[in-house]
């Protein structure tokens, strides 16, 4: 992360989103919305004093909702860049200090009455008198190629009614991840949420939402390994905790992965092959895990203090909106579709746009890094060549025949056609970098002025004749 932050060739645009993409390989014009932070990032030192002073309590996304953050906050301790932002939706406007208003003056002291965040900031970065534009800033950049690496989200436990999601002691694996992290809500102490006590028995449940006809038929690919990792970290630190892991299958096919799993068994972690049907809440905040042991051919019940659900990886909603902006198709599992599953795994049907990481499908960090480097290499090829070939199998207008009626303009799905003055009248002109050769315009042109090279009328009619004559 630090390397990315300090590389002189990388311009970091965090707290920003792609709003509009125009153009094609070689020359994409991209509009990017820099969201309003309400903080002067040039002055902010990332000390975090404002966040400590903020009285608002907002579920903390970074700790997977296990604790709260202020409305003004720094995302996490090692953030890059380490800067505060104000989440304006949750801001309480303490001391009547709405953004862009002048402070009231205290009758007692004659000094302005500031909000706690302003008062706490030693750098003068938090000044609520400034009329910050809530829309932030819209910038435009030009690039030759684009890598889409928007990642994934994990399913929330609330989707799984059979697993007692209303119990605070039923956690998603990502929540457990935060619970055992030194930067997490408990400072890395494993304490169950209901009473802050150390659990004695923990159950892990795999394939929650994955490999399940009701949700996702695919395997999320990382759950077996991260569950084993979490179990190992816990068992190594607290050998007295009993751990049960319920797997449909144990899938550990990566390099050094099976050895990693074997060591978990040697540590005394109980591996049970079989599906868990349901979880019941028991007195004392405990949970009854009702599963099946395929090897014994019998039902199995575990009374656990804490249950961890390995919920499925899926594509977030906003990534689907981005897909529309980029004209990228999705696959049957709801991820971005690569051009060819084996031979073109980082390419997309849109030339010049490439895929990396979990937006293309679930994968672990080693695979993600490999794919990211592959996508970077593929995206660098046109940049290194300096020019790209446009296949001539695209449409061309014969201006002498064009009547300038404009029928073709709104029909073009790629906005490639414009009416431009030619001689005495406006006539259609096709931007060769935008045209994909679909032929809609050529078919629609009432004057027969548009030729789709490689699919001319003469060629198509000859094909039809051959097909019908032979039949």
């Amino acid at each position: 992360m630090v390397q990315v932050g300090t590389n002189p060739n990388i311009e970091l645009l965090t707290y920003s989103e792609v709003e509009e993409v125009e153009g094609s390989i070689g020359n994409f014009k991209v509009k990017i919305r820099k969201k309003q932070t309400y903080i002067d990032w040039d002055k902010c030192t990332g000390c975090g004093a404002c966040a400590e002073a903020c009285p608002a309590k907002v579920p903390n996304e970074f700790n997977a909702g296990l604790d709260t953050r202020g409305a003004i906050y720094i995302q996490f301790p090692q953030a890059v860049p380490k800067k505060a932002v104000i989440d304006i939706e949750h801001c309480l406007n303490c001391a009547g200090r709405k953004i862009g208003t002048q402070p009231k003056i205290s009758k007692k002291t004659g000094k302005p009455i500031l909000a706690p965040c302003e008062k706490a900031c030693p750098a003068g970065a938090c000044d609520r008198s400034i009329a910050w534009d809530p829309e932030g800033e819209l910038i435009e950049v030009e690039v030759g190629t684009i890598v889409v690496a928007t990642g994934f989200k994990v399913m929330e436990k609330e989707r799984f009614k059979e697993y007692a999601p209303d119990s605070p002691n039923v956690l998603t694996a990502l929540q457990l991840e935060r619970l055992i992290s030194a930067t997490g809500p408990t400072g890395g102490k494993l304490l169950r949420p209901s009473d802050g006590q150390k659990p004695k028995v923990i159950s892990f449940i795999s394939c929650v939402g994955s490999r399940d006809q009701r949700y996702h038929t695919y395997c999320s690919r990382v759950c077996c390994m991260y569950m084993i990792k979490e179990a190992r970290l816990i068992k190594e630190k607290y050998p007295d905790i009993d751990i049960y892991m319920h797997f449909m299958d144990v899938r550990t096919p990566g390099k050094d992965f099976d050895e990693y799993y074997t060591y978990a068994r040697e540590l005394g972690i109980n591996i049970v092959r079989g599906k868990v049907g349901g979880i019941e809440k028991l007195p004392g905040d405990r949970l009854r895990v009702m599963g099946y042991d395929n090897d014994l051919g019998k039902p199995i019940e575990v009374k656990a203090d804490m249950v961890v659900l390995a919920t499925a990886i899926e594509l977030p909603e906003d990534a689907k909106q981005l897909a529309q902006k980029l004209s990228l198709p999705m696959d049957g599992s709801g991820f971005f579709k690569e051009l060819h599953p084996k031979l073109k795994p980082v390419e997309t049907p849109v030339e010049g746009i490439f895929l990396a990481g979990c937006c293309q499908g679930p994968k672990d960090i080693p695979d993600t890094v490999a794919q990211a480097k592959g996508a970077a290499a593929a995206a660098a090829v046109p940049l290194a060549q300096g020019k790209v070939v446009i296949e001539p199998t695209i449409s061309e207008v014969n201006p002498e025949k064009c009547s300038g009626c404009g029928v073709c303009v709104p029909l073009c799905p790629y906005n490639a056609i414009k009416l431009e003055q030619y001689g005495d009248r406006p006539r259609a002109q096709i931007d060769m970098t935008q045209c994909k050769g679909c032929g809609v315009c050529a078919a629609a042109c009432p004057s027969g002025a548009i030729t789709l090279h490689g699919f001319t009328d003469a060629q198509i009619f000859a094909q039809i004749e051959a097909l019908t004559k032979a039949a």
Binding site: M1, V4, G5, N9, E11, L12, L13, T14, Y15, V18, I25, N27, I32, Q75, F76, Q78, V80, V85, V141, T145, V147, A149, T150, G151, F152, L174, E177, R178, S181, G188, M225, K229, G254, D256, F257, Y260, L322, H340, A356, G357, Q371, A372, A375, A376, A377, A379, A380, L383, G386, K387, V388, V389, I390, P392, M432, T456, A458, I460, A462, A470
Partner: protein, 194 residues
């Protein structure tokens, strides 16, 4: 009058296991404008391409029809081959008798063979009307955009930046790091994620 060469590929068993390749070749030979019709085990292999190139060099053909697999993966290969033999690379037409024929009709060998003949006849008719075309070029802005600042986005951006290109890295949250930053340790090495 165009001199059309038709090259029918067995694709190992992929096509020949269903389609009677020799029957298709013999059918193609009699089509109008066809001067040469050949078949080979793997037309995309070096010896397969050499068959085509040799016919072009010897002046036997000036339009090429390859009846084989999908142009999506193989058209570039055959275009390059005919270009290297001195023919405009757009004087090529492919008939997809694998994905659109042998693969979808594995239980109807006779029907598949008849369909393959039709697909070849259609491609030959088009080939007779093909015109040479020239590639066009556009200049490239030597910069890249990476959308997303997690593991994948960070590594893509770093690689591109280290190759010397300017990279814009867009991340919707205030910090880069993505889900990875939320992980305590990562398998299989158990080192810290940040």
């Amino acid at each position: 009058m165009a001199k059309i060469g038709v090259y029918v590929c067995h694709c190992g068993e992929n096509i020949a296991g269903v389609v009677d390749v020799e029957a298709v070749r013999a059918f193609a030979e009699k089509l109008p404008g066809v001067t040469v019709a050949r078949s080979y085990l793997f037309m995309c292999s070096d010896p397969g391409q050499e068959l085509i190139k040799k016919d072009i060099r010897e002046g036997l053909v000036d339009r090429v029809v390859v009846a084989a697999c999908t142009p999506r993966t193989h058209e570039p290969i055959f275009r390059k081959a005919i270009e290297s033999a001195g023919l405009n690379k757009y004087l090529l037409e492919m008939a997809n008798i694998r994905d659109q024929c042998s693969w979808v009709h594995p239980h109807d060998k006779e029907g598949a063979t008849e369909k393959a003949k039709l697909l070849v006849a259609s491609a030959v008719a088009k080939a007779a009307n093909l015109e040479p075309l020239e590639d066009k070029f556009v200049q490239v802005t030597p910069k890249a955009l990476v959308i997303g600042g997690g593991v994948a986005g960070m590594f893509s951006a770093l690689e591109l930046a280290n190759m010397g290109y300017k990279v814009y890295l867009v991340e919707k949250r205030p910090s880069i790091g993505g889900v990875m930053a939320q992980l305590d340790k990562t398998f299989p090495t158990n080192d810290c994620s940040a």
